[in-house]
Amino acid sequence: MNSLLEFHQVSRRFGRSQALKSASFRVPAGSITALLGPNGAGKSTALRIALNLLRPSSGEARVLGADSRKLGPAELARIGYVAEGMELPDWMTVDQFLAWCRPLYPKWDSDLERELRKQFALPGDRKLKHLSRGQRMKAALVSALAYRPELLVLDEPFSGLDPLVRDEFITGLLELAGGEGFSVVLSSHDIEEVDRLADHVVMLNHGEVLLNESTESLLARHRRVEVLLPENFGDLPALPPTWIAPQSSGRVLRFADTSHDAAAFGQTAAKVFPGCPPPDVRPYSLRELFVTLVRAGKADAGL
């Protein structure tokens, strides 16, 4: 599949701290890809490298088929960017701001601009510095969507927005859905915010890519398993390598099955846990999955 954004073993240092460690991932064409991870995981660094606002210390990021370090005005006119707390010309009114943006983009679509302004109910005569946080983000989104970018980059777009404004913001950005299609990459530290919106997930932790996979396959292959062991079960048996992060408490053993196959699971479970009732097998939410995988990673690293 094509991708509009690809990272190939990209690292970035700031002094002694390593913000990205040999990170490889891609944003499939037409997808909404979420870059997830706690604060300081390297999400913003990755997005800033993608826009040539930062250079990688090593490795290569390819954006719209070009090396990110060589992005020029022609490529940047095909990319939209909105970041939490980004600098805007605060002395301008909303009308002035959009009139100022319009001539910068040959593909500016005035009908789409009108439609979005109506949806967002943006007051044209209000100065940007007097807008609420949500309205500011909406004004920035109008300026980034109206030229119909092929790639939309959103850095923590929902941070500090109330749920109603967040929903309006999402509806607005999906105005570009359909038609020729566009790709979105957005970062968030709050997985629940984006778990239904994103169809591709890149999980980052301490600058490393933990996962780079479609949401659907992630949810399909992971299961949370609970086994009730008999009173005299003795030592825990060795688990297959795809069953990770075991934790036991009393007679209950919990673990994550990372390549679940409903047909084969029962047989394997009966072999590993002879004499036990059938285990309780449940799907993970993305949030639970992330927490489990980060914990398992720490255990692997002996932390």
């Binding site: 037409g30 997808s31 909404i32 929903d167 999402i170 509806t171 999906l174 105005e175 859905a177 359909g178 299609g181 778990d195 239904r196 919106l197 994103a198 169809d199 949401t215 659907e216 949810l219 399909a220 009730l228 009732p277 059938p278 309780d280 097998v281 449940r282 799907p283 993970y284 939410s285």
Partner: protein, 124 residues
Amino acid sequence: MLPFRFHLLDGVPVSDQLVKAVQRAVLTGEMAPGEKFPSVRVLAQELKISPTTAHKAVLELRDAGFLATRPGAGMVVVKPAGSSREQLISQLAPACRDLIRQAGLLGLTAEETQKALRRALSED
């Protein structure tokens, strides 16, 4: 507003849930044959999901005979061939599997499980 009922659950792929919800709506008559089906953009906006996911569900529904392309009108609802009661019964399969699993965790026999189901049915 979408013309069918839909409540997203955690942990199950969104496109699977969307397909199931539309199938149920067609089989129960909540959506009538010939009715216009929302576009991918409207589905994505209303459900706050990725257009790719919405597109995938629409294609699946078309392949399963629940939607058809009408030139100029986008997608319309079709009633698929075959017994709709049977298809409704098969929609209940996941809930039945869940019931059986719960019964297994409690150590109940098949007879006891059926007894619990009959009891719940008579209370309803």
